[in-house]
């Protein structure tokens, strides 16, 4: 089976989200092959989950001071500070026999692909089998501080967080693999903060890790992407065929970018009617 592959490119926050959603939307109306996309973030960016209350989760003033854009994802989950990470997106049909009918099965299968890729870099990642309640003094808003089912851990610290949206029998799952992790930067833009800043930093260090911590050689984004491609191809028995967005997807992307992801109301308030 062939999948469309969209190679790694670093783009702005709004374009990244618009592309993921355009692929997801077009899939709902056309018989498209499953798609795997890799991307990075041109600038440090905070992405928020669909239902998150930005005022409770993110230090907006700090983001403004640091020129860090905040974008709301079409998927669930918690806030993430993206900086140098490799983000993946998979769009496919619920009915694809590669994915079990249960929703968590999709996480499980994609986690296996990513773990297979990381293994080629010498990183032994395993799936989080059970939800672990976030520690009371952790940054509850941050995706990486609270492992959830079937996300990837290395030595019990999260290296890849993922989130999904589903509609019309199509799923979009995207997630980020941290190349490096700086807990100070994350703590500086996330809320709420308890008074004990040092403890928060320690908690982040204990619960989050990155590719650079587990390799004894310099590993760049290209190496990670190649390893992940192999992880997907071997785990699923598929062939990734380099492609590009269709003209229709480009059109959908342009509309979503202008009217949704660059729309302050969508990013700050959310809600499917915030950008219509």
């Amino acid at each position: 089976m062939q999948w469309r592959f969209l190679p790694f490119e670093r783009l702005g926050a709004f374009e990244n989200m618009a592309i993921d959603e355009a692929i997801f939307r077009f899939h709902q109306h056309e018989d498209m092959p499953p798609t795997l996309r890799f991307y990075g973030w041109k600038f440090p960016t905070v992405s928020l989950g669909y239902f998150q209350d930005v005022e409770k989760e993110v230090d907006i003033e700090a983001c403004r001071r640091k020129n860090i854009p905040v974008v709301r994802r079409p998927t669930g989950g918690k806030a993430v500070l993206h900086e140098g990470d490799v983000t993946y997106a998979v769009v496919g049909r619920d009915s694809n026999p590669l994915f079990p009918a249960d929703i968590l099965g999709t996480y499980r299968v994609i986690s296996r692909c990513i773990a297979g890729g990381l293994a080629l870099l010498g990183i032994e990642a395993e799936m989080e089998g059970n939800s672990r309640a976030p520690n009371g003094d952790s940054l509850k808003a941050s995706c990486f501080s609270s492992p959830s089912r079937y996300e990837l851990l290395v030595k019990n610290r999260k290296i890849c967080g993922s989130a999904q949206v589903r509609s019309h029998g199509i799923f979009l799952q995207h997630g980020s693999i941290l190349m490096e992790f700086n807990p100070f930067k994350t703590c500086d833009v996330m809320l709420p903060r308890s008074g004990d800043y040092e403890r928060q930093i320690l908690r982040m260090k204990q619960s989050v890790t990155s590719v650079s911590e587990h390799t004894d050689r310099a590993v760049d984004v290209g190496m990670v992407c190649r390893a992940l491609m192999t992880g997907f191809e071997k785990t699923l028995g598929i062939e990734l065929v380099k492609g590009e967005l269709s003209p229709e997807e480009e059109e959908i992307k342009a509309v979503l970018m202008t009217h949704k992801y660059m729309n302050e109301r969508w990013n700050m308030e959310g809600g499917c009617r915030a950008w219509i």
Binding site: G49, Y50, F51, P74, T75, G76, G77, D94, S95, P97, F99, P100, A101, D102, I103, L104, G105, Y107, S131, S148, R149, A163, Q164, V165, R166, S167, H168, G169, F171, Q173, G270, G271, C272, R273
Partner: protein, 132 residues
């Protein structure tokens, strides 16, 4: 296997409709709530908003992700269930009755012809569950 009430109609996106004249009460099915798991967040339209058949009228979040709620009919929202915004757990505990979401005054009741009855929906769910 789940029992789906005979007095409801269903779409393939797992929403149900209870029809009384031109009014359609809409919610998600027991199969859907079980598939989602514990509902954590919900977004619904407001009274007087329009909804379109086969288009999202809201979204729901569980620990597994975000799921768009797809409307089985077109029309104008005339009522929203405030009880479920106060106690979201009702969607899990009583999805076919007190867990209703919105009431829509339908533009075109003929849209109902495309929906599934309980037996057809039961078969659809069996096929979907067997896909994996």
């Amino acid at each position: 296997m789940k029992v789906f009430p005979d007095d409801l109609l269903y779409n393939r996106e797992h929403t149900w409709v209870r029809v009384e004249g031109d009014l359609a009460t809409i919610g998600i099915t027991d199969y859907a709530q079980e598939k989602l798991g514990e509902v954590l967040s919900l977004e619904l339209p407001e009274t007087d908003d329009s909804v379109e058949r086969d288009e999202p009228f809201g979204a729901i979040e569980s620990a597994k992700g975000v799921f768009e709620l797809i409307s089985p009919v077109s029309g104008e929202v005339i009522s929203v269930n405030d009880d479920i915004t106060d106690d979201i757990g009702i969607i899990n505990s009583d999805p076919h009755d007190t867990g209703w979401m919105i009431v829509v005054e339908m533009n075109d009741p003929e849209e109902l012809d495309d929906l599934l009855d309980s037996g057809e929906y039961h078969d659809f769910v069996l096929r979907e569950a067997g896909d994996g």
